[in-house]
């Protein structure tokens, strides 16, 4: 009996979406540390609500939509389009901190991919530097032959896992509360995946003033666990 139609794809997705992937995702809190410090994030329900707002209206949708576009471009061998989407994503990061976290994770993942795949690398590394996280994730998913919708769901899940881990530290919450939160996000993650797939280019916009302001404040926060 086979556990899934494509065991290799499943294993690769688990590796790519794993919180132990050494790309430094754990070092960033995407504003959660500031929200906790200012009393806007005090319990599991607050974090649940925040993540759902992000999935419905926030920038994570834009990352997801660009991931799908970069995947399709890589599949079609259109590296110029991959480069342009990467530039577009860099320009759309709202704060210095959010840009740094996206690019640091993207660069680390791109380097890791270079170490894992057999040379020569199919993508133009220099023109993709600095590479954003969603672009590097798309390249990995394409290279490892994951289905794009599954890859997108994995990307959203790994994003949520990282923020829940950050929330567990800064609120703080118990580990079980964190897992319960992630468990409860299942329908929302898949709903977000579906909505992201429907977004057309001229509606790639988001609404996340709370994140933008929290991230700006975090850049000058006096005492912090997470990077800025």
């Amino acid at each position: 009996m086979t556990p899934t139609a494509d065991p290799t794809a499943l294993l690769r997705l688990l590796q790519l979406a794993s919180p132990t992937l050494p790309i430094g995702a754990y070092s960033y809190s995407e504003g959660l540390e500031t929200l906790a410090a200012t009393g806007q994030l005090t319990n599991a329900a607050d974090l649940h609500g925040w993540l759902i707002q992000q999935l419905q209206h926030g920038t994570i949708r834009i990352d997801g939509a660009v991931l799908l576009r970069a995947y399709a471009a890589a599949q079609g061998g259109d590296w110029e389009a991959v480069i342009q989407w990467n530039q577009w994503l860099s320009a759309s990061r709202e704060t210095a901190e959010l840009r740094q976290s996206s690019q640091q994770m993207g660069q680390a993942l791109l380097k890791l991919l270079g170490d894992l795949v057999t040379p020569p690398l199919p993508w133009p590394v220099a023109e993709l530097t600095p590479c954003n996280g969603a672009i590097a994730f798309a390249l990995a998913a394409w290279q490892w032959q994951l289905d794009p919708q599954t890859a997108l769901l994995g990307y959203l899940q790994s994003w949520a896992t990282n923020l829940i881990s950050a929330g567990v530290k800064v609120i703080p919450l118990g580990q079980t509360a964190g897992q319960r939160l992630l468990w409860g996000l299942d329908p929302h993650l898949d709903q977000a995946r579906q909505q992201i797939s429907q977004l057309d280019d001229h509606n790639l916009n988001s609404c996340g003033w709370g994140l933008s302001l929290a991230s700006m404040a975090h850049e000058t926060q006096y005492s912090r666990l997470f990077r800025s």
Binding site: L35, A91, S92, E94, T95, N203, W209, G210, T220
Partner: protein
């Protein structure tokens, strides 16, 4: 200056087809509005020079009182090398409730080498149910400077209105050599969750952004800007964009507060980078 008005209200399209084309040149150190074309309801007042010849001030008008669903407005701005234009609006822009169709204002600007564009309109008021899309694309050539702000009030709060239905979008994109360097694409769907949740409006009716893109904002300058008098209330912050531009954001309850803060930042940067004494336009109140 030529003035052409041709049947601008298109019933079939369901709204105004307004246009504005402004072409600035620099002649012997004076910025001149060399060509201006307009189609109602968009229009400009005559050029003003409250701070000398170098900078031409232009006040834009919307003569129909506000923007309704179905309107298609287009503004094109061109600044020749070394010219300097400051554009503002005569009054707040009303974005009326739509019974469905989207209203759109497309703004494009080409800022040639060494030119300065300051886009400093008064606030917009999005009525509950408004369906509005604004896109602004600015092409910045080497040494060109762009300063811009945008202040939006969601709902006519004086009468207790909230932005519970409708859609507001505002996209600002800056390009250098065809490469996007700043893409601020805001899209706020009306709803109880976006109005109340801390992720979006946090029960505050007003949001504002100010962008300065000129000579690099150094860490020292950023530090200094953070020490300038902040808005007395509301949430606000500063950060840097790619290539060291400055972004300020505000979320709160007072257009007076946010305007004053943006003016403070703008005056400081203008003094630093354009060698201009502090200026405040009477029209801003």
């Amino acid at each position: 200056m030529e003035m052409i008005v041709t049947n601008p209200y298109d019933v079939d399209a369901g709204g105004w087809q307004g246009e504005l084309e402004l072409d600035y040149g620099a002649i012997a150190g004076k910025t001149v509005l060399q060509r201006s074309y307009h189609r109602a309801p968009l229009k400009v007042q005559r050029s003003l020079y409250p701070e000398g010849d170098r900078c031409c001030h232009t006040v834009m008008l919307h003569t129909a009182g506000g923007i309704v669903g179905g309107d298609r407005l287009a503004t094109q701005i061109h600044l020749a090398p070394q010219s300097h234009a400051l554009l503002t609006t005569a009054a707040a822009t009303k974005l009326y409730r739509s019974n469905g169709p989207e209203a759109e204002h497309r703004i494009t600007a080409q800022v040639e080498p060494g030119a300065v564009l300051e886009w400093l309109p008064q606030e917009a008021i999005a009525f509950n149910g408004a369906n509005y899309r604004q896109t602004m694309a600015v092409d910045l050539e080497p040494g060109a400077i762009f300063a811009g702000w945008e202040i939006t009030r969601f709902g006519r709060t004086a009468r207790g209105e909230q932005f519970l239905t409708g859609m507001w979008r505002s996209h600002l994109e800056l390009y250098q050599n065809g490469v996007p360097i700043w893409c601020d694409r805001q899209g706020l769907p009306g709803g109880m969750d976006t109005v109340t949740h801390p992720h979006s409006l946090n029960q505050q009716p007003i949001i504002g952004s100010f962008l300065w893109f000129g000579q690099p904002i150094t860490p020292e300058l950023l530090h200094t800007l953070r020490q300038l008098p902040p808005p007395p209330q509301g949430e606000f912050g500063l950060t840097t964009t790619q290539h060291h531009g400055l972004l300020a954001r505000y979320r709160g309850a007072s257009t007076t507060d946010v305007k004053q803060w943006f003016i403070t930042l703008w005056q400081y940067l203008r003094q630093q980078q354009l060698n201009r004494p502090p200026l405040k336009l009477r029209i801003w109140g």
